[in-house]
């Protein structure tokens, strides 16, 4: 398949945003990176889908980011297991390994998924970085962000093979549900009362 013009740009957006999500301990930077990640994903999906349908992914992702942003305390991303420099360095190295893996296997995936090489690289990087996030943290917000990243990568792969409106709607519902679950896990509700 022919590479669309500027195909490297959304790929860079995805690499930078997922790395920020993995390393940053600032909520503000993480939410901005989350929003940029969905811009990159929307850009890539628009190569396969009509713009209107692809915009569903962008809107859903931004709404999910907004829900998470307004519902959690600023310390939700603070790491306890790593020191700042060594932890960040370790994460950077593992992220680099994920990029290398994505660059290596994306061309061979073209036999299974009819999409551009940059598109498949974006999907693999999202899945890989999401799994790294899931494997490296036990904090609810990081787990939720990791799940969003993995699901974004999968959505890219699935968009290359299926254009069902129902599935797009259901997956958007899942994304919003995941954001609400994330908000629930972060907010400390009032104690139980019985009437």
């Amino acid at each position: 398949m022919n590479e669309p013009a500027w195909s490297w740009l959304p790929l860079v957006l995805i690499i930078v945003s997922t790395l920020t999500l993995l390393i940053s301990q600032s909520l503000r930077f993480s939410i901005i990176a989350f929003a940029i990640q969905y811009i990159g994903m929307f850009w890539m999906i628009s190569w396969e889908w009509p713009i209107g349908l692809a915009a569903v992914k962008l809107v859903t992702g931004w709404m999910a980011g907004a829900v998470l942003a307004i519902s959690q305390p600023g310390t939700a991303l603070a790491e306890t297991g790593f020191t700042r420099i060594s932890g960040g360095g370790f994460k950077l190295i593992t992220a680099a390994l994920t990029w290398v893996m994505a660059f290596a296997i994306a061309p061979s995936l073209q036999t299974l998924f009819p999409a551009a090489s940059a598109y498949l690289m974006g999907a693999i990087i999202l899945i890989g970085m999401g799994l790294l996030q899931l494997g490296m943290s036990h904090q609810p917000l990081r787990v939720i962000l990791g799940l969003f990243t993995v699901l974004s990568g999968f959505e890219l792969l699935y968009a290359a093979v299926d254009r069902s409106v129902l599935v797009a709607g259901l997956i958007s519902g899942v994304n919003l549900g995941l954001a609400l679950v994330g908000a629930f896990l972060l907010v400390n509700p009032e104690p139980e009362e019985t009437l």
């Binding site: 036999t111 299974l112 899931l134 036990h138 609810p140 787990v143 990791g146 799940l147 993995v150 699901l151 999968f154 792969l157 699935y158 093979v161 299926d162 069902s164 409106v165 129902l166 599935v167 709607g169 259901l170 997956i171 519902g173 899942v174 549900g177 995941l178 609400l180 679950v181 629930f184 896990l185 400390n188 509700p189 009032e190 104690p191 139980e192 009362e193 019985t194 009437l195």
Partner: protein, 464 residues
């Protein structure tokens, strides 16, 4: 009127209302129990193919409903399944007052049942994956009680179940692609791998089951028990749907060998860990893993007998989990420790709950005269006919679970008897006693239970 409206949209609508009024905890529990019981009875007695008489008027029940160009279908072949799922809901909601579940259990539990029924009703059924994921998301506020932080078990449950959805969707796409190009062996292998991984995540199959004992340890056992009896049941039916729909899958020996290997490892490891367990909630988790393993082994027999044993095992599994989870919740509600070293004291504080949990463990491990035995014994016999090694490992797993039960029995009678009233309330005593009696009755007279459950397979015409 449509069956889809009655058995999916009505309970879902009721669940939304109950969620809005979730602080009226007693009312919401009884309404949820009433709705599920009513729907189970309606599915048992209303024939979907005939006119329904209501208030002197005759109504025709349509069996399909269109949503975004796809169909939700609940026809006569789904009636037994509806009875099973809504009966299961009624069973758990009726026990909720005795277990002391929190205010979100009944509303969200009802929503989960409605969504899971929708996942089995949607056609093509490949679209079931996002619906199952939605049910999982709805279950999170149920597992994390209001006012408490989420533990590792809940987070892992969320991660593994969410990772299952992409694999099932991509596997479904690959299956459809094979229908068009059946000669493509790479695609065939890819479809089986994707589906296998998706099902492994959803059913907590080895090696993705580490979260199960964690979840039972940190969530209220009754709520965890509800999920562990409902979710795997629905996912197993989805798996049977896949097998029923795709000939190459049900004719693939590799797929069934994989099921057998995973099932054997689950049964054996869960039994061995259970034998050395000192915490009742974690023992419950290993019981869940072992039951899933036995269900996989039954399906892996790849025969009519195997499927019959899978279906027959659903009721003992439900009653066993229900009784075990209820007794653990009763003990927790009385501030009784669930660790073995404290059980000597527990027995004199909550004797009926302690004995009920013991009976449940023995039933799950397949002790004769209890509900698990009439299914477990022929299953081991069938497994032995195919492979002695698999049967021996399954037997080791059962023996391990039974040894765990015996250690619990020994822990119960470690202290000198003291006099006093049982700590359980009358409703708790009634439900626990009913559970014990049901396990004995189903163990001594298993035939009616087994023949009733065989009807649940009537929708899978191609499997026999």
């Amino acid at each position: 009127m449509s069956t889809v409206i009655f058995w999916i949209f009505v309970p879902f609508g009721v669940s939304i209302l109950l969620t809005l009024f979730n602080r009226f905890i007693r009312i919401t529990r009884w309404i949820a129990a009433g709705v599920t019981l009513g729907l189970a009875l309606a599915a048992a007695f209303v024939n979907f193919d005939e006119l329904v008489l209501l208030g002197g008027r005759a109504y025709e029940l349509s069996t399909s409903f269109s949503v975004l160009g796809r169909q939700l279908v609940l026809d006569s072949t789904d009636r037994v399944f509806l009875v099973l799922v809504y009966g299961l809901g009624a069973f758990w909601f009726l026990g909720a007052p005795a277990a002391g579940t929190h205010r979100l259990f009944a509303p969200l539990g009802l929503a989960i049942i409605a969504i899971l029924v929708a996942s089995l009703a949607v056609e093509p059924f490949l679209y079931a994956a996002p619906l199952v994921e939605l049910a999982v998301l709805v279950s999170i506020p149920m597992l994390v009680a209001p006012g408490r932080p989420a533990g590792q078990g809940v987070l892992r449950y969320l991660i593994f179940m969410t990772l299952g959805m992409p694999f099932i969707l991509l596997g479904g796409w690959a299956l459809n692609a094979i229908e068009i190009n059946p000669a493509n062996e790479t695609l065939l292998l890819e479809a089986m791998l994707l589906l296998g991984l998706g099902l492994a995540f959803w059913l907590a199959i080895f090696p993705f089951y580490t979260w199960v004992p964690l979840l039972t340890g940190e969530s209220q056992p009754y709520i965890a028990g509800f999920l562990f009896s409902l979710l795997p049941t629905v996912v197993f039916f989805l798996m049977l749907n896949f097998l029923d729909a795709f000939a190459f899958l049900r004719n693939s020996p590799v797929f069934f060998q994989g099921l057998q290997l995973a099932g054997t490892i689950m049964v054996a490891t869960a039994g061995i860990w259970a034998a050395f367990q000192r915490d009742l909630t974690r023992l419950f988790g290993y019981a869940v893993i072992q039951e899933t393993g036995f269900a996989l082994l039954a399906i892996s027999l790849h025969s009519e007998t195997g499927l019959a044993l899978f279906a027959a095992g659903l009721v003992p599994r439900l009653i066993g989990f229900g009784l075990f989870a209820l007794s653990l919740s009763v003990m927790q509600s009385r501030n009784v420790s669930l660790r073995f070293e404290d059980e000597g004291l527990a027995f004199w504080q909550v004797p009926i709950a302690s004995l009920a949990s013991l009976v449940a463990i023995f039933s799950i491990s397949g002790l004769p005269l209890l509900a698990g035995f009439p299914v477990r014994q022929p299953l081991l016999e069938e497994l032995g006919a195919g492979s002695i090694a698999v049967a021996i490992w399954a037997l080791i797993g059962s023996a391990g679970m039974m040894y765990g039960g015996l250690r619990y029995l020994s822990a119960l009678f470690r202290r000198e008897p003291t006099t006093g009233q049982p700590g359980e309330g009358w409703y708790q005593i009634a439900l626990l006693s009913a559970g014990v009696v049901m396990l004995f009755v189903a163990g001594v007279f298993p035939t009616p239970m087994i023949s009733m459950m065989l009807n649940v397979l009537s929708g899978f015409a191609n499997l026999f």
